[in-house]
């Protein structure tokens, strides 16, 4: 069966499933169709590179980095069908929501993960197979559960504006180049030289190429949902104002904390709300030496801009 026919068959199955689903009493049923396949992460500008990668996509033939942003509402029944167009096993787990089902999908097969989005928040979805290699090749993204009451809140905190920042790293020569060409990876050594903000280096991300710029007007509260699919801690510093750290991995902080730097651990999420107290253009950047670079070139690492009018 070729890729096109697989896609037709499974898309038909999804549609049929939606039609005949009885639906949950609370919440709706949300269906997603994703593909696992190869692609390239392209870091533009000085120090940049085209990095062979594996990723998720909602459009067959074009792996996306990070994976497509998936959004549901608290209480929804979620069906994510993963069609594997790659030559090795993959899966898709929403950390904190669907951890109990880590079923591997074999090449040219499909599988539907079903679960209930039982709490609102920001979650990481990822491939958990192959000793972190699959995830580090690029297989992760943001899964957002909005509150059932329809309010513009996160963990009970109000906000006006919203950005989703998916961060991570890639060790091009030791991990990506080798795994992509079928060679083994020595997972005990990980020295990433590319540091990504929404799948891009800072030179692109700071120019909003990936929709990363935080914008608003004085007085607004701007939510950043930060999802770290990497293996390194990402310590992100905001200029021009303080942030309120409100939640981690889909769990509200009992006591939200003010800060100007938030540390997002590997394999986790944090939600922060930036208070826009003055007009201006300010950077938001990682505060860790090499992670500010693309293969050593300054400012082509993890960074974004904040524009306040």
């Amino acid at each position: 069966m070729n890729k096109t026919s697989i896609r037709v068959v499974f898309t038909a199955a999804i549609v049929a499933g939606s039609i005949f689903s009885t639906g949950a009493v609370f919440g709706e049923t949300k269906n997603f169709l994703l593909f696992a396949e190869t692609g390239n992460v392209v870091v533009s500008g000085a120090g940049g590179a085209t990095i062979p990668a594996w990723g998720y996509s909602d459009v067959a033939g074009q792996a996306k980095f990070p994976g497509p942003q998936l959004e549901v509402t608290e209480g929804d029944t979620v069906n994510i069908t993963l069609i594997n167009y790659h030559n090795r096993n993959h899966n898709l787990v929403v950390q904190g929501l669907s951890d109990s089902n880590q079923t591997a999908v074999q090449p040219s097969q499909a599988y539907t993960y079903s679960f209930t989005a039982d709490r609102a928040g920001t979650f990481l979805y990822k491939d958990t197979l192959n000793s972190n290699i699959n995830r580090s090749m690029g297989m992760y993204g943001a899964f957002i559960v909005r509150p059932a009451d329809g309010t513009k809140t996160v963990y009970h905190q109000y906000y006006d504006k919203e950005n989703v920042w998916v961060v991570g790293e890639m060790d091009k020569s030791r991990w990506n180049d080798r795994a992509a060409s079928g060679q083994s990876v020595n997972t005990s050594v990980y020295k990433p030289n590319y540091f990504l903000m929404n799948g891009q280096g800072g030179f692109s991300a700071m120019h909003d190429d990936a929709g990363t710029t935080m914008t608003g007007v004085v007085g607004q509260m701007a939510l950043a949902r930060i999802v770290n699919g990497g293996q390194f801690s990402h310590s992100l510093h905001f200029h021009g104002g303080h942030i309120l750290i409100v939640g981690e991995n889909g769990v509200p902080l009992e006591n939200p904390r003010w800060a100007t730097t938030v540390s997002v651990k590997p394999n986790s999420t944090k939600d922060v709300i930036y208070e826009m107290v003055q007009p201006g253009v300010f950077p938001m950047h990682i505060h860790t030496a090499q992670m500010e670079t693309a293969n050593g070139v300054y400012l082509n690492g993890v960074a974004a801009m904040i524009v306040i009018n």
Binding site: Y190, M206, N255, H287, T288, A289, V297
Partner: protein
């Protein structure tokens, strides 16, 4: 107001350190500055400052208080590390870290970076700036070249608000990968002010008081960064070799980075300023390694909703905290320490713990 503040600080410091300070007092009377033995209290009453000029005292560098302007230059500093190796740094007023600057709440402060700076890199990373880290300054004072900051000298003005007491940083924001590593960082401390206009030793306005104050700027050193320039691929990886608290190594309990002689039952505030590039954890242990609890009051100059009493505190790069340690009521020794850890697995580095020592 300046003179009153000076006098009060002087008397307080003198009372604590009387027996160590007679020589320092002589220096003050003769030379116009105050040097205290323990804790390195150095006073610049006249404002301005600048010029590396200063003799720094054992256990700490220059502390600036009682003024609302100050000036720094940039100079080479060559440090001999514990293994005998020489590493080149760039220091504000020739100090690593730069001077600690103390400011009251609801105050204006003008921090000048002198022109004619040396050393610095060649284009495109020429010059230096000062970023007032955590102080929420306007774009014009932010010290970021990419958003318009001059790189050949400037005066950075900031205003502190009510409820801002706590610890902040300042650092160069030109090619921060290289320039931070070179030692271009320092600490700004905002303190509550009483009705007479004097700074107080409260953790925050109306909060608990401390008897001793420790300034800890955290940093790590990868010697390869100190010789690399521009967009070298050296900056694609980070391999720290030396681990510092306020510019000093402290590889064992027997050779601590800092020492403090205190009285039992008193409160010590630790002002933690994360200018390092890896993970780290602050803790306080006795000689046998048993952890002693302390209380976290502030992060980034803002009060926690509830103080948190813990036995360890993670300090990530760019974070600042204020924690209070109450010494036991009977005499003894404790080792407040900082353990540097890798960014991937959060595992401590070999020789990555920096010890300090408190006797009481």
């Amino acid at each position: 107001m300046k003179l009153i503040t000076m006098k009060k600080e002087f008397i307080k410091g003198f009372a604590y350190r009387y027996k160590f300070s007679l020589v320092a007092l002589m220096v003050f009377l003769l030379g116009g500055g105050i040097l205290f033995g323990q804790g390195g209290f150095r006073f610049r009453g006249g404002g301005g400052g600048g010029g590396g000029g200063g003799t720094t005292t054992t256990g700490g560098g220059t502390v600036v208080t009682g003024v609302n302007t100050y000036s720094v230059n940039v100079r080479n500093v060559n440090k001999t590390m514990s293994d005998g190796a020489n590493v080149n740094f760039w220091g504000f007023n020739s100090e690593i870290p730069g001077p600690v600057i103390i400011v009251g709440e609801n105050q204006r402060f003008d921090l000048t970076l002198q022109g004619g700076m040396w050393p610095h890199e060649m284009s495109p990373y020429q010059g230096h700036t000062i970023h007032l880290h955590g102080l929420d300054v306007p774009q014009s004072e932010d010290g970021v070249p990419e958003t318009g900051a001059p790189v050949m000298g400037d005066t950075y003005t900031f205003y502190t608000g009510s409820g801002w007491a706590g610890t902040y940083a300042y650092h160069c924001h030109v090619h921060t990968v290289k320039h931070l590593e070179q030692g271009m960082y320092g600490m700004i401390v905002v303190k509550p002010v009483d009705s007479a206009g004097n700074t107080t030793n409260e953790v925050y306005s109306g909060g608990p008081r401390y008897d001793y104050e420790e300034f800890w700027t955290l940093s790590t050193v990868d010697p390869a960064y100190h010789t690399a320039t521009g967009d070298s691929t050296v900056f694609a990886d980070y391999n720290p070799k030396y681990y510092l608290i306020s510019g000093k190594e402290g590889l064992s309990q027997a050779s601590p980075a800092k020492t403090l002689a205190a009285a039992p039952g008193k409160n010590v505030i630790y002002r933690l300023n994360g200018m390092h590039s890896v993970n780290s954890t602050f803790s306080v242990k006795d000689a046998s390694g048993n952890a002693k609890a302390f209380t976290v009051y502030m992060q980034a100059g803002r009060k926690l909703a509830q103080p948190e009493t813990v036995t360890s505190l993670d300090v990530a790069p760019g974070q600042t905290f204020d924690v209070l340690l109450t010494l036991p009521s009977s005499s003894g020794t404790l080792y407040p320490q900082l353990t540097y850890k890798d960014l991937r697995n959060n595992m401590p580095y070999t020789n990555g713990t920096v010890y300090t020592k408190v006797t009481f």
